[in-house]
Symmetry: D2
Subunit: 331 residues, 4 copies
């Protein structure tokens, strides 16, 4: 098993999480972490070289692959630069909000002949993997319906909302990817219905906080996604796939499986509160997939094209809500 | 507690069920059951007068109220006749498929000043009553989203499908009523998306077997209903109401609460197989409500107007699916 | 289906419950209810003849069977009188606390050649019936272990405790019967361990409020029962049967299957609060079994001998606790 | 955070598991692993120095603590040697089967003034920790009853059974420790009841495969443990603590929380199959506790005395079963 040497750009919340996962991976060296606001104490305690300029990563010949954990607006530029430097690339979603910009980035990747994996981590979640495996093994027969519930535990900051691209590109994009992943099919048409019910400030910022989105899939099946920016009980992430032989559901994960029975009722634990806890295994697993793809010199199982398509669905959803009618997804 | 004397029209599956429930109600006398194909042995064993002609019921002065369990196409006529005879009326849904015909029946009821209760039995189901009570008590705060899953265990006969008015008027109509009941709000707009996935014969009969319907409610909340004509595991009847303080879900009922753990897995029982078992308590409770309304000389809690409005929503859903865009519900 | 005419002795809580169930049974006439403190309004509202003296029941030639719902101390005498009058007999448990007195009653029944069913209603509970059926069908293979949890929701009155015969004869007796019923086997030896943890007044009255009882069964399997006089969350009635092919568990029943998820946790409903609600179906079903046995002129499925044996196990348990060692059950 | 250097003795299944956990712990160096049958490829791939003689570990001045993962019969000797070498010690349970031998080992540890942690890993399991925390926080009030179910997925090899000390010293010993841990109380008296139901070969080897053990605790509460050597559905590890304010239960952990609903039933996953998967988090956490105790120069939270006491309870249980009566635990 050859050692793989990586460099990371971005050491915010998600960047630190990934870095700490990588440090526990045998046969992987995370050499440099670059961030203009790098927490140097943290880097030192982890034995990492801290840089402020991403060029340190791009120019390091020992570094085989670049991990892009920077703010979304920088992703496309950094993919293009990394590709130009001949680096393999892992990039958090989204590549960009503008599909033309995404296409430019993917073209640069294609031209350079490097690998690119997009951070649709939920595909690596053990719960959803079980669903995928059940679908692929024919356990539930022909797929009729997919139901996805994805609710955040708390409103994001309004400043974040303003630059997020809106709920469908920021939040539902994961669910669009999941519908494609679980159905082995493409989204043909979207009807999205949004509302501002949680906080009027979201509406003033031009976004919504509650949505129901219906998808028509190319295999004839239907999917429906319900989203909310605020579920007071925590991060609500459930999926059901229903088909000719029955249904399989992924329920929420909880800290423990204990059951308390008191005069107040029978109480089990709330869902894990946020994505860092809920999806911790998937963050590890997607990075293992990336490293494995490098070692085996094959394409990673989540492609740049997956990043583009989900964005196109998100744009169609946004347009559908604005125009009040179903919209076909651009090819 | 004064004795209430009833007469029933229709002694098919649902008519017999109601009759047997009524026979166990203290203070209620079911005097006559009229049906052109009446099972006379059954009537005799229950101590009921069997008639072939509904006129026997309409003309019996001792009978205070008429229970209409006949085929749907006869409902409106029989309501009008019963009202003309000054009888109080309980009628299974739907009143008719044509809203003008429904309005005529309601006008006759209004003119006669008699009471009319429509058989939206699910409002009396203990599971859904608990949801309603949670919403009304503010337990889940402001309602954001309602999710309804309603799947039948097996396809109906194709002949039934042809005269049923289509899935939205035959099956989803109960879910439309439930959305109104649980939200204390009206449906403004419907977007319905249907597919033929279970059996092409359904499509050839001009109907669908799978649907997702999105509702915009007048209080701003959203609702989504998923339907299927065939869930191989039984009758799947689940509802979730999600709001600012959390969510409450009604899960499926099962014959027992036992859990079997073997080399094959951890197995609990399937949902009760069909509506007769699943909703048996609600059938009893809706009849108790009707008798109680008669005794207290007040309007029953489910009105003729509830029957009309659900039909209007069903028609809007049908049109939405056909035209591929959202449709406003007629006033 | 011939009409069966019954007379009841005792119209306290359990007597009224049974009477109201019988009134809803087709083909059964409850003619007289005798109780020195009879609630005459209640009897009149139900259309029952009210008597103060049980002789009214014993002497009524139209009455085929006597239902004994009187205080336990009267059971044996009334069984003997009823048998002497040639009546069929249903009697609530226990027949008596003294096994010799039970044997006298059973001898009178045997001599008169009448039927006797003892009120071990839990054998008719749908949850436990499912366990029995799984055991009998070999679903869990050879039985290794039976675990019974039976906890009352609240302490009984101390005056009741004083004459109850103690926890093992008053409360655990149902669990002894259940262990026999589910295992199709006899109890050979008992080790009982009791404690006064809930309320010292129970100890002052010479009883315990918490117990663990281990049973050795004649087929080699083991059983364990845990009891408490006070579970603040309600009536806790769970059983697990574990064997060579797996286990099957009966969980508690709840008013509804709804799930509430709020900032406080994921909350399902507490167990049904007391035996009248929890076992309502079993009370109906045991009476149906009795009437059916009369109609078919066969022995009821719960016999006087079942009543004697459970008492002998209860006495062995009491002795085991007092002597601090296992005790063999008398033959 | 200073680096802690460790040496391990024993590289069988449990030794390798611990070694791999330690290799992922920041600030900890596992320098040498000694085992007469060491898998050298494995050691090399992990970057570990492989030795055949434990003396290599005892004599290495850089090694601060010795981890004893060797066969049980060697534990006491190795503890004494390690203590003599001034090493801190982590030792898997049991220290020895003979309490006098345990006392000798503990005396050596005491004389050397080194720390000793015994591998009662279940104390570190997140499920059971939640129970402990609930008890300590008073959530369930005064403890009345503890119910422990511990069933292995498959019979151990008969050769293992012969030298294991018997079920109570090999298997139930964990449950004895758990009863003490959860109740904050000592075991005064034991009554154990065993049977050979799974396989007669177990009986021929002088052991049992099924047991129910009742414990009287010094705080007055009762505990009951049911054990089986073979649950065909996997590793069954459940605990309930019941008290004056209610109960809290630890349920089994499963690979995922998915629910499959098909014509066969509603199916969730079986418990994790064996202790290596089920308790993986606890193995990591107990080692973190040990390292933390070294860094903070304090006693670990599981002591040598805990090892001794559980063995004394196990001996009392064995004697109780053999003599057919309750036995007091030696002081």
């Amino acid at each position: 098993m050859r050692t793989v040497t990586l460099g990371a750009i971005g050491a915010g919340r998600i960047g630190k999480l990934h870095a700490e996962n990588i440090l526990r991976m045998p046969g992987v060296q995370l050499k440099v972490v670059a961030d203009p606001y790098i927490d140097e104490d943290w880097a030192r305690s982890k034995g990492l070289i801290a840089a402020r300029d991403p060029e340190v990563v791009f120019k390091d010949d020992e570094i085989e692959a670049v991990l892009i954990f920077s703010p979304s607006t920088l992703h496309a530029d950094q993919i293009i630069t990394a590709a130009g430097a001949g680096k393999q690339i892992f990039c958090e979603k989204p590549i960009a909000l503008d599909p033309d910009r995404i296409r430019e980035a993917l073209a640069a990747v294609g031209k350079a002949g490097v690998k690119l994996q997009i951070g649709f981590n939920r595909r690596f979640d053990p719960e959803f993997r079980r669903l995928k495996q059940a679908v692929d093994a024919g356990e539930i027969g022909k797929v009729y319906l997919i139901r996805i519930t994805a609710r955040d535990p708390a409103l994001p900051p309004i400043d974040y909302v303003k630059t997020s691209g809106g709920m469908f590109l920021d939040m539902t994009i994961h669910d669009f990817d999941m519908a494609r992943y679980l159905s082995n099919s493409e989204v043909k048409e979207v009807f999205a219905c949004g509302a501002v019910l949680v906080d009027p400030a979201i509406g003033e910022a031009g976004d919504i906080d509650t949505a129901i989105t219906t998808l028509k899939l190319s295999n004839g099946a239907l999917a429906v996604i319900d989203n909310s920016r605020q579920a007071v009980y925590g991060y609500d992430q459930r999926i059901e796939v229903f088909g000719s032989k029955g249904s399989i559901m992924a329920c929420n994960r909880t800290p423990t499986q204990t059951v308390s029975t008191t005069a107040s009722g029978v109480i089990t634990e709330k869902p894990l509160y946020f994505f860092l806890e809920r999806y911790q295994e998937s963050f590890r697993a997607e990075m293992e997939e990336f490293v494995q793809a490098l070692r085996e010199d094959r394409d990673p199982s989540v492609s740049g094209s997956d990043g583009l398509i989900s964005t196109l669905i998100g744009l169609a959803a946004t347009e559908s809500m604005e125009r009040g009618k179903p919209v076909r997804v651009a090819a």
